[in-house]
């Protein structure tokens, strides 16, 4: 199937061919004898959402679910291709690259779905009744408890800057962040940082000077911090970090005090006609039981919920929810993206 896909892509001019890879993993949920089936494509690790999927299918014996896990850029390219060719692909797409989902909606690649559950979402997490924010995950700083002394733990971006400032700092070359060229989520966080505050310029400069490492994927970064390859990781998705920290005492987590970006994974129903089962899945995820199930894997901590190292009393303005709306289209602009990537590459030469 992937071969066929690649052939199709190369025939179409192959703009995306280079970036479309096979899905990272596939899983099937539901009984063998199910008469209906839906396909979920998501950037979320299978293990993270598996309990939620099982809960969803528990009362639906005639429904099965094919779960495909993708990288965010690949998932976007594939969904866009599906839209352009009018070929049925996934029934529901959930991505951490929310700007990409907004772009798909703006391109008319998604269908509307209105239900009491979607209506209950705040306006900031819903656009055109075609894209919905299903989770709340902070972008955090992860550090190695054993190797970073308590006085060095950066409480904010300013602390991180101070840590990297001294010539020959022991953190030089030991700070990691997403490779924004490879990760849609990393790009989004960096882009939102650049819109949020002037700290970003200084941070890039400091990253450049100290030789920060840009690498791929949440799991890889968190693993690197745990093993001590990196001392600190910046802008890591809090859900994965908290999940890992539960079983690994070496990992410490900080939600930056100056501001913390909060990502709400975006779901869309691609295509031209809503699949009712996919809509049901969306409603289930947004429902109370779905959110409870998501909260177990730290996908649904409310923006104001206490995080490790965060003070509950603090001002709400610290939490910057990435709103789902047309402004995210700016993060998808070719020229803006190219310029931003050029600056990034110039700062963090690989």
């Amino acid at each position: 199937m992937i071969q066929r896909l690649l052939i199709g892509l190369s025939l179409l001019g192959g703009v995306f061919a280079a970036s479309v890879h096979a899905q990272e993993a596939v899983a099937h949920f539901g009984a063998q004898g199910a008469t209906r089936s839906i396909t979920l494509r998501t950037t979320t690790d299978i293990a993270v959402l598996a309990p939620t999927m099982r809960d969803f299918l528990a009362n639906r014996p005639d429904l099965s679910l094919r779960y495909e896990q993708w990288g965010s850029n690949d998932l976007y390219a594939l969904t866009e291709l599906d839209c352009k060719t009018g070929r049925p692909g996934a029934d529901i797409v959930i991505s951490s690259g929310v700007h990409q989902m907004v772009k798909l909606v703006n391109d008319g690649c998604a269908v509307s779905w209105v239900s009491p559950e979607t209506q209950a979402l705040p306006d900031r997490l819903r656009w055109r009744d075609q894209v919905w924010g299903i989770s709340r995950e902070p972008a955090v700083i992860v550090y190695n408890r054993n190797l970073v002394p308590p006085e060095d733990v950066p409480d904010s971006r300013f602390d991180l800057l101070d840590l990297l400032r001294p010539e020959g700092s022991r953190y030089g070359g030991r700070v990691a962040t997403y490779d924004i060229a490879a990760s849609g989520l990393g790009f989004l966080f960096a882009f939102m940082d650049s819109q949020e505050a002037s700290t970003f310029g200084a941070l890039m400069e400091a990253f450049a000077r100290s030789g920060a490492v840009a690498t791929c994927c949440s799991a890889e970064i968190i693993g690197g911090v745990a093993t001590g390859d990196y001392l600190i990781a910046y802008n890591v998705l809090g859900s994965y970090a908290m999940q890992a920290a539960r079983s690994d005492q070496r990992l410490g987590i900080v939600a930056p005090a100056d501001y913390t970006l909060v990502l709400s994974r975006a779901a869309i129903l691609p295509g031209t006609e809503a699949n009712h089962d996919a809509g049901d899945l969306l409603d289930f995820i947004l429902s109370e039981s779905g959110q409870r199930s998501m909260a177990k894997v730290h996908l649904a901590s409310a923006p104001s919920a206490p995080l490790p190292g965060a003070d509950r009393e603090e001002d709400d303005s610290r939490w910057r929810l990435i709103e789902l709306g047309p402004t995210l289209l700016v993060a998808m602009d070719q020229m803006k993206t190219a310029g931003f990537l050029a600056r990034w590459r110039a700062a963090i030469g690989e």
């Binding site: 047309p326 289209l329 803006k336």
Partner: protein, 462 residues
């Protein structure tokens, strides 16, 4: 079926008419208003949201700078925040460099029609939905780059349509509230306005059935016309009623004596044994029944005349024809078959507006009177005098006494005391006919004899 027919032929109540009329008015008005409101709303929405487009396009245009001889767009967030005010609308944008190369944004967007200025608005579609576009051209004249950069920004029209519909809905809501108020008020006003009619109906219902006097009620001028019509009708009814009463009492009065006389004669005949005397009584009985039948004729013709005078249609009549008819008619003659009767009519028509039958009856009576009481030879004629058109009968006698003449036409006047010859009745018929057609009965005694004439206003010949 019959009931349905009856129901449909029954006129609508005034309130229902008003409601139907007002509803139609409001419906048509509402239709026109909603069209107008929608047109206005669409224009207003277009103006409002076009400003967003202008702002966003200008924002983007302002963000273009020339870097190393190439225009570079640093897409501003503010432009999209502005466009995001139309919350549910999708956004299309494109920046075109020289030779229409796409610098950034969507690959294929519609261009405005040729020959537009630096700022051009146009309607097109965006991936299947109707959209509104703007193209703003920014011109650079720098050392490194000289030329135009076009910024195209579009937006689907969901918010515009919503706003236009919203304005229309509000306008219609106002109309509905206003319409209900108008309707309620109108029904109330109609009820108020019709109250005098209801009062009138109530007072009519309470009336004694024999009370035909005019209604005297304080009513508005509009209703007054109807009250006048009712009063006029009641007046005519009253007149008819009185006529009938008179006719009955006359008949009873006039018939009582001759019938009593006939009965006495009959009694006498029954008791008489002598054949000669019995034959004389039978002869008297015969002449008595002849008189009675003549009296009945007269009374009937009088009733006919009085009835027709009020009701018959007036037609142009030549009085000469009436005189000729009466002259030719043998009926009156058998009062005095041996009497000499002449006809005297001229060449010119004598036209009046009247009912021919009534006039003929009147003329017959006048001739009958002359035959019965006057002195032959008798002349009947018609002519045009200074006073009007005349239909006259003349004999060479002296005429009735001035005292009798004075009571001319009164109902119970008869020739001499107790003599039942019906002459008074004949005159009264002639008089009634003359008056019914706006004329009068004139009598004069002169050297030529006694002449009695029905004088009517002349009708110009058609």
């Amino acid at each position: 079926m019959r009931e349905a027919g009856a129901a449909s032929s029954r006129p609508l109540s005034l309130t229902a008419r008003l409601v139907v009329g007002l509803s139609a008015l409001l419906l048509i008005g509402g239709l026109i208003l909603s069209l107008a409101a929608f047109a206005y709303g669409r224009a207003a929405a277009r103006d409002a949201f076009d400003r967003l487009l202008v702002g966003a396009a200008n924002d983007i245009a302002a963000s273009i700078s020339i870097v190393d001889g190439v225009p570079v767009v640093d897409l501003p967030l503010s432009a999209f925040e502005l466009l995001g005010l139309a919350q549910e609308d999708r956004i299309a944008y494109q920046v075109l460099g020289p030779q229409d190369t796409v610098l950034t944004g969507y690959d294929l967007l519609p261009l405005p029609p040729e020959g537009q200025g630096d700022v051009a608005f146009y309607d097109a579609s965006f991936t299947g939905d109707p959209a509104r576009y703007i193209r703003v051209t920014r011109r650079f004249a720098e050392r490194q780059f000289s030329g135009a950069v076009q910024v195209i920004v579009g937006q689907t029209t969901h918010a515009r349509t919503e706003l236009a519909l919203d304005i229309t809905r509000n306008a219609l809501a106002g109309l509905v509230v206003g319409g209900v108020a108008i309707m309620t008020f109108a029904v109330f006003v109609v009820r108020q306005a019709l109250r005098p009619l209801n009062q009138l109906a109530a007072s009519l219902a309470l009336r004694d059935p024999r009370d035909l006097t005019p209604i005297d009620a304080a009513v508005p001028p509009e209703v007054d016309a109807m009250v006048q019509a009712i009063n006029g009708f009641m007046g005519r009814l009253n007149g008819q009623f009185r006529t009938m009463k008179n006719l009955i009492s006359d008949t009873a009065h006039q018939l009582r004596t001759p019938v009593a006389a006939l009965r006495a004669q009959a009694d006498l005949a029954a008791g008489e044994e002598d054949a000669g005397a019995q034959k004389a009584i039978v002869t008297r009985l015969h002449s008595g029944t002849v008189r009675l039948s003549r009296l009945l004729d007269q009374m009937l013709s009088r009733a006919l005349v009085i009835h027709r005078g009020g009701a018959a249609r007036r037609e142009p009549i030549d009085l000469r024809d009436i005189a000729l008819d009466v002259f030719d008619d043998a009926d009156p003659r058998h009062v005095a078959p041996e009497a000499e009767v002449h006809l005297e009519i001229g060449e010119a028509p004598v036209m009046v507006l009247a009912d021919g039958l009534s006039l003929t009856e009147a003329a017959k009576n006048l001739l009958g009177n002359a035959l019965a009481h006057g002195t032959a030879p008798i002349t009947i004629g018609a002519d045009q005098s200074l006073l009007g058109a005349r239909l006259w009968v003349r004999d060479v006698g002296a005429g009735p006494s001035p005292a009798l003449l004075a009571q001319l036409g009164e109902r119970f006047a008869t020739g001499a005391a107790g003599r039942v010859r019906g002459s008074g009745l004949g005159l009264s018929i002639a008089q009634a006919v003359a008056e019914a057609f706006d004329g009068e009965l004139q009598a004069e005694s002169g050297p030529e004899g006694f002449c009695i004439a029905i004088v009517l206003p002349p009708e110009p010949e058609p």
